[in-house]
Symmetry: C2
Subunit: 993 residues, 2 copies
């Protein structure tokens, strides 16, 4: 405390001490500590220790009245109690590495020491021991007398019979509650790490002491001391504070302070390694130096603070201690002005996967090498209940897609490729890709641009379509393989967030708009008779009139009309009962439909809307249910994971119960080509002139660009850092298989397949894993995605056998599936920064969320950036809707060019926050940055607004953050005390107080 | 600092000092302080002061990169910076009550003092003055060079034409942004109280100083010092900290510390009243002693803490200081174990309105006396845009109710009372009540029990119904007046939360179930043809068949059928074209409807469902929109207030656009009794035997009980404390007018009216006021309800003239109104504790919200209490659905009996938290409590689990919360330092560090 002048070396003695003891053997981590605080309760003359709070990481308090644990919360302490605790450690008995095997022996040792130190008189020995050895009652155990005492309070008139009843009820109840508590105790054990040790804090008021009795004990070996601790965790530390009556609350606060310290990562290390009392005091000083202080006028101490999502890691804190930069870490607490070492935007890092190897097939080889070690886990990790939901969800998405695109392709190519081909192709391509591809989480599917390409191809019908297609496929396959062999995928690293989010938003918008279009379509397909008046139902009819109207038909409409199932010979029209014909038959036989009911279909449009919107909203609500307060976590996460399946089932059920003739999912039931005049294999030669075989290389180039862009951008999106994938990606391997599958599908006359962005995102989303929260109050962390091949393979195998599932699938109404599509589209927009930025337009500045880019980039620049992106998308959207859609992939390249041009409009600083720096820039800027750093070293800690965030680590520019050394005496012309530098510690501040 | 032994008197010198200076003239409140912190920026050789943060109550930081203000947040400080600040004040220059009129003069004075004190050498005088007089740039002003500098960063290739464009764009933009900023500045001025003064904190690094230059200045008069402050608020305090380069962050933290202190209620008082440097230091010590400390391992200092909903008031903190119980306040910070002085449940207080006066009409007289002074404001306060929404919303609720009940009453009484009477009665009774009643926020309406009573009455049809009804009405009126005259309403105070919430939940459930029933009804009314196959539309028809089927009708279905508008003479059936008749006509003329389409109505049921559910969900979403981030607050609150009207309009619009024949709201268009054989006045004599006039007193008694209970419980709910009504209630006056209106309505043959719980709650909800938040970050407070008579009167006047609004009202589909009903029912359940407790059944204990009753009552007791309530409601619901509904009001009395019996099942402690204590108990327990208090004084601070919460103030049981005095030396057999008691201050702890 009088070392101010003496410790000019730069390190406070506390930090120096800690650095020394913590640095010793850092390789053996100290166990986690569980802390229990028991307070002494007087019940008449009886005394017992009652658990009053516990800490795994956060504080849980016993609600006295509520007889329950409070929610885990951040311990708010008073500065006062921390100082008092410091005094306690300084003046009380500190017994380190005590050999203890039982509580009585330990208590004896403590009391002996106290007597030896003269802290208590020997005549109190008995009394203190007696108190310390009282029974411990834990929150989950009820004392014997409680069920009676509980009733005693309401025992106003014990004669009432109603009372007796309830007493018995209660007894029965408390029995079952006891069992419940036991199971809860076991549940709680799970929250404590296996290697944990306990620290017990005992706080009590007694009448025989006239000054406090304080002891801090560390046992040489962690020992289970009978019923001392709530859970069977061996005790390592013991803190005892007994004192005279009247200051219970103050003692309690000291108990909370030591308990909070014991679970502090840094202090618990100190406690394990302390050599003496002073090490402990140094630990407290270090803690005090790091605490966060809330001003009393701006915060109500009664508020229990919810545990934060993230806390500073112990390692970080320790390393800071060692680096002698504690002051700086402290200094950042929301500090204004001075340089911001807040989290920097994670740079655009695509990892080694996209490095240009320069060798033939170098990338492909690396991809394979990267993937091989995971082969086993690629299957074993698929066995999880979540996979079932994922498979069903993605399967339904896939077959809906297959049917939709199959239908459209069939229309476009006169059924050369129809629904049947679509199913088989999806199954084949998907299975192969998921089994052998580089990123098995990617789902292959037909996509819009390919559909348009096929359409245009078929329309140029002087050449045999299937053969031409085969040759284009072969050329394209070859081109893909060349791209693979030359590591061409490395150019993907020029795809920044700008391009990536633009592309995926566009695809999402297309999904959403398609879903809505289909919904609106059903209003056209099933027109509603809007002028229908229920009273005039008698005037509505639709009759089939025979083509020769010569003889008037006399028919009875009284007869119950049943749909005719007899197919009449097509030309025997005279014998036909026209009134019995269905609409289609009537038209088929050349009859005319007359009547005001003919063009309307009742109910179907509205019920379709209800099914569509209901499926969508229910899925959204069930997803939200995951974070609600109701039901246990497991139950909720199950509902959340299966939300889509549940919604589909519910609305299929509703549809089934209503029994209306809604459009259903119809899959082909027989394996045969949609068009009878084509077989299963396309022959490469014979139908077209020879030059076609060569010339088809030109359109193939377009297909290759399309495939390449579509495939690789989707892969980039799937491989996003946020998804925390661990098994690495395989861009080259992916492209290899897509190329091979091109050729195979062309030979078999099946459609071409490429990664489908939205369904792949849905696949990832349905496989996300979260940690089961460990310490009470700790937030579950997103751990990553179940990376495996099983779900993908199952999805496509199921797609293949859908032909046999037709009887089940026919119960699924199409509007329900459109609802699923809408959900997929909307869900894939979530979490896209572009979308968040669009929302900013609608928010007044003060309500905007605290995005880090908003802290660093002026709002108008953010808006400008977003605007550019919106314009790009609008242009793409317009193109997509025209014939130009065929050059859609080239447009994506256009996006990259626009991004490049934005380097001129925006500073690199802004772009680093809003997007990513383009690769060359990265290197160039790094040099610039270094220059600036040098400048800065001589410059003050001014905010460097043009300092680029470049690396995930805080920038190496460290401004020495010494504590300011203010003169300690009023007027010293002596050398300024500037030499006193960080880390500051209380010890050298205290004397100035 | 060496007073540990000396200051045994119990008060730390800091607290003693503060008590002295703050106690001086507490009548003159000190102005609010606005604090601005400017940091010195070096731009090459140029220097300027740039605003970096500001405080009205919470901190707002300038986001350097984002060029914007951060969200207001709680200032998180480091302990270190507070200690350094303390040193600064101790060693720097403190100039109190400096006569200052301009910044240069003040700067001169500061520098003079520093030189005089020898803190800086005279050679630095010029340099320091130069720095301190640099220009101040505030956040809302852009420096001249910025728009260029802004561009400069991206000026990589100035030749590009695209760039020039954007430069110009930006210039134009920054012009408009400047204007925007100006308006934002004005907006900000509104957030600062009128009498506010400024404190300016100037923090800077300079290269000519080798030790810090610190000055704290208080001006004798607050003076506007040019551009020093962002807003035109006169400056009172000035804190300057200049120091050598390299410690900018540390300086910043000190600046933030003093800024936070300056806006602290207690410290700003100290700053205003300080006599010398030591007073300021004492203020800091006091602040330090009150701070809340967060452990570094459990909280990330980077998190910006949102301002809490409530902060401890300055008065409370000051009073605590004076009461010398500071330690106690600190000690409660989430402290375990020790007695809980948390907020106690507000006791069941119905105020003086329900006191038994014992005088004839005493209560009524008091009611009138209480209401008269508000007459003017009862109208003037109605002029607000919110009223429009409230009027429209409640109006629609009222007419829907009037039509529903009118229709039912018409059915029940053979149209003796029909829709017309219902409208007139509602208008008459409502207008009179809102104009003259005691609680004009109550909305009168027909209610279920009365409907059932009328039905039973009419069925006993040997006696003339209207005359009997008149006599019952007269008797009931008389009985009501007797109840008024005898202050009988005072028994309402036995209605606790249990009864009140039970009743209102029941009414809400009835509302919800009625709405859903009506919705389901429309599926029965408009049956859907579930086997309809679109293809067989030709086989669906419905024909009208003439009763004599002898001659077959030959008709052409080819002719376009238009609904026949010619009404044919009823008996000329032979000439009738049966095929042209509508369904109703066909049935009317005895025709038979034949065909498979007759019993079905397409689309209407489904569209009704869409309208119903759509209206409900849209209202709920729009209400939620009020708390969303989008659009400015005003816009959002407008949308929130008008949510119901907007939803109704939107869905009426959809209905109109679809043009379907949905059921519409049809109001009568002519003023005439529904039944032609009754007039507008009922004659009291002549139709029934004389004994009926007397005997009708017996059923009247039932009506009276019904009216009394219904009216008064609704009134209790409306007058709930949570609604913060200011004009007092008028139970007696209410009942008086309800009685009078009984008689009037009976004479006019109109239905009887009584307070409608759900609509009244909706009325209150739509008139709620919130404060516009004052300091940035402060939560808007619920201020109360617009208590006025205007909205009520307007609602009922509108109801009266609805007859003329029929052309407009006929566009409103009934399903939309049922949706509104559903919303009303659900919304009135919100905020009911009973409902919250029911939800607890579904939540695992750890997810349950932190209700205060859960902290004090064991969960199983809470569940038991809720179960009793649920059973009661189930019984009532069953009764309501049978004929026994007529004794429904008596059942409410039954609820009160059940509540009384619960005194036997539950302890008074539990009941106080879950419900309220019944009045007598209240007094009795108060005595018990006193006894206990005496006991407790001698007992320790053990948790008192059976301490009843009795008053809104914390209980007067104050356990002396002295700081524990631990021995300062290791082994002192000297007198124990127990005498050192609270409030603890750092000064006497410091030497032990």
């Amino acid at each position: 405390m009088d070392c101010i002048e003496g410790c000019g070396g730069g390190v406070s003695p506390a930090a120096e001490r800690l650095r020394y003891i913590l640095g010793e053997d850092d390789d053996m981590p100290t166990p986690t500590l569980f802390t229990e605080m028991d307070t002494l309760q007087h019940d008449g003359d009886e005394m017992e220790w009652k658990e009053s709070a516990r800490w795994v990481k956060f504080e849980e308090k016993v609600e006295e009245g509520g007889e329950r644990w409070s929610k885990p919360h951040v311990s708010t302490l008073t500065l006062h109690s921390l100082f008092e605790l410091r005094t306690c450690i300084q003046t009380g008995s500190v017994l380190l590495d005590l050999e203890g095997y039982s509580l009585p022996q330990i208590v004896d040792d403590i009391v002996d020491r106290q007597v030896a130190d003269g802290l208590i008189g020997p005549e109190l020995r008995e009394k203190v021991s007696f108190v310390l050895l009282r029974k411990h009652r834990h929150q989950h155990k009820k004392p014997i007398h409680l069920s009676l005492a509980d009733m005693g309070k309401s025992n106003n008139s014990p004669t009432t019979s109603g009372l007796h009843h309830s007493t018995e009820d209660l007894r029965a109840k408390s029995g079952s509650l006891g069992r419940l508590r036991e199971s809860m105790k076991n549940k709680f054990m799970k929250k404590i790490p296996r290697d944990a040790e306990a620290s017990n804090v005992l706080i009590g008021e007694v009448d025989f002491l006239d000054k406090p009795f304080v002891a801090f004990v560390r046992l040489a070996q962690a020992t289970t001391l009978g019923g001392l601790t709530e859970v069977p965790v061996p005790t390592r530390f013991l803190f005892v504070l007994l004192g005279p009556h009247g200051k219970g609350k103050s003692y309690n606060e000291i108990g909370r302070a030591i308990a909070t310290l014991m679970v502090d990562d840094l202090f618990s290390d100190v406690a394990y390694k302390a050599r003496d009392r002073d090490d402990l005091v140094a630990g407290i000083d270090e803690f005090l130096d790091e605490v966060i202080v809330l001003p009393p006028g701006e915060w109500d101490p009664k508020i229990r603070i919810e545990p934060p999502k993230k806390v500073p890691s112990a390692d970080m804190r320790k390393s800071v201690l060692n680096l002698n930069e504690l002051g700086q870490v402290n200094g950042t607490a929301g500090g204004p002005g001075g340089g911001e070492d807040e989290e920097m935007p994670t740079p655009h890092e695509l990892g080694e996967e996209l490095q240009f190897t320069g060798r033939f097939c170098g990338g492909l080889w690396l991809d394979i090498k990267r993937k091989v070690p995971w082969i086993l886990s690629d299957f074993s990790q698929g066995f999880h209940i979540q996979s079932i939901s994922a498979v069903l969800f993605i399967y339904l998405g896939c077959i809906t897609n297959a049917i939709t695109f199959g239908g459209l392709l069939g229309d476009a190519t006169d059924n050369y490729q129809g629904v049947m081909e679509s199913f088989l192709g999806t199954a084949l391509a998907g299975t192969v890709f998921c089994l052998l591809g580089g990123q098995p989480l990617i789902i292959l599917s037909s996509t819009g641009p390919i559909l348009i390409f096929e359409k245009l191809l078929y329309e140029s019908n002087t050449i045999d379509y299937m053969e031409l297609r085969l040759w284009i496929g072969l050329h394209s396959c070859l081109q893909c393989l060349i791209l693979v062999a030359t590591d061409a995928s490395y150019i993907i690293k020029y795809i920044t967030r700008f391009t990536e989010e633009g592309f995926s938003s566009l695809i999402s918008f297309i999904f959403i708009s398609d879903a809505i279009k289909k919904m609106v379509g059903s209003f056209k397909y099933y027109p509603i008779n809007r002028v229908f008046k229920p009273d005039y139902v008698t005037t509505y009819r639709c009759d089939c009139i025979a083509p020769d109207q010569g003889e008037p038909l006399l028919f009875s409409s009284f007869a119950a009309v049943s749909p005719p199932h007899i197919v009449l010979p097509p030309y025997n029209l005279t014998g036909l009962d026209w009134s019995q014909l269905s609409k289609k038959e009537c038209v088929k036989y050349g009859g005319a439909l007359l009547g005001n009911a003919c063009k309307y279909v009742p109910d179907l449009a509205l019920i379709s809307f209800i099914l569509f919107f209901g499926t969508y909203s229910m899925t959204v609500s069930l997803k939200k249910f995951k974070t609600s307060r109701y039901f246990p976590t497991k139950c909720r996460s199950l509902v959340g994971d299966f939300s889509i399946i549940i919604s589909i089932l519910v609305f299929c059920g509703i549809d089934y119960l209503l029994g209306l003739d809604t459009p259903k999912l119809h899959v082909p039931t027989e394996v045969k080509p949609t068009r009878p005049d084509r077989g299963w294999v396309v022959m490469p030669f014979g139908k077209n002139p020879w030059w076609v075989y060569v010339a088809s290389g030109v359109p193939a180039l377009l297909v290759t660009i399309l495939i390449f862009m579509d495939q690789q951008i989707s892969a980039v999106i799937v491989n996003r850092k946020e998804n925390k994938l661990k098994k690495g990606c395989g861009y080259h391997l992916d492209l290899f298989w897509v190329g091979i599958l091109m050729a195979v599908c062309s030979f078999l006359g099946l459609p071409w397949y490429v990664a489908a962005t939205v369904i792949s995102i849905a696949h990832i989303d349905s496989l996300k894993m979260e940690s089961e929260s460990s310490a009470p109050g700790e937030q579950p962390q997103f751990l990553g995605v179940r990376e495996q091949r099983l779900t993908g393979i199952l999805v496509f195998v199921l797609t293949g056998v859908s032909i046999f599932l037709a009887p089940v699938l026919q119960y699924i109404p199409m509007p329900v599936l459109y609802g699923v599509f809408l959900y997929m589209g909307v869900a894939s927009l979530a979490g896209i920064q572009f979308w968040e930025r669009i929302k900013l337009y609608l928010m007044p500045a003060k309500h905007q969320p605290d995005f880090s880019f908003l802290r660093h980039v002026p709002l108008r620049r953010v808006h400008l950036f977003t605007l550019v992106q919106i314009i790009c998308l609008a242009v793409l959207w317009t193109l997509k809707s025209t014939v130009a859609a065929i050059i859609f992939p080239v447009m994506i390249l256009g996006l990259m060019v626009v991004r490049k041009m934005m380097d001129l409009m925006f500073s690199q600083h802004d772009l680093a926050w809003l997007d990513d720096i383009l690769p060359e820039k990265d290197k160039k800027k790094e040099k610039d940055g270094k220059k600036k750093k040098d400048n800065k070293r001589t410059k003050a800690a001014e905010p460097e607004s043009d300092e680029e965030p470049k690396s995930p680590l805080p920038p190496p520019v460290k401004i020495p953050m010494d504590t300011i050394g203010l003169p300690s005496a009023p007027d010293p012309p002596s050398p300024p005390s500037l030499t006193v530098s960080s880390p500051p510690s209380l010890t050298h501040l205290a004397p100035r107080l």
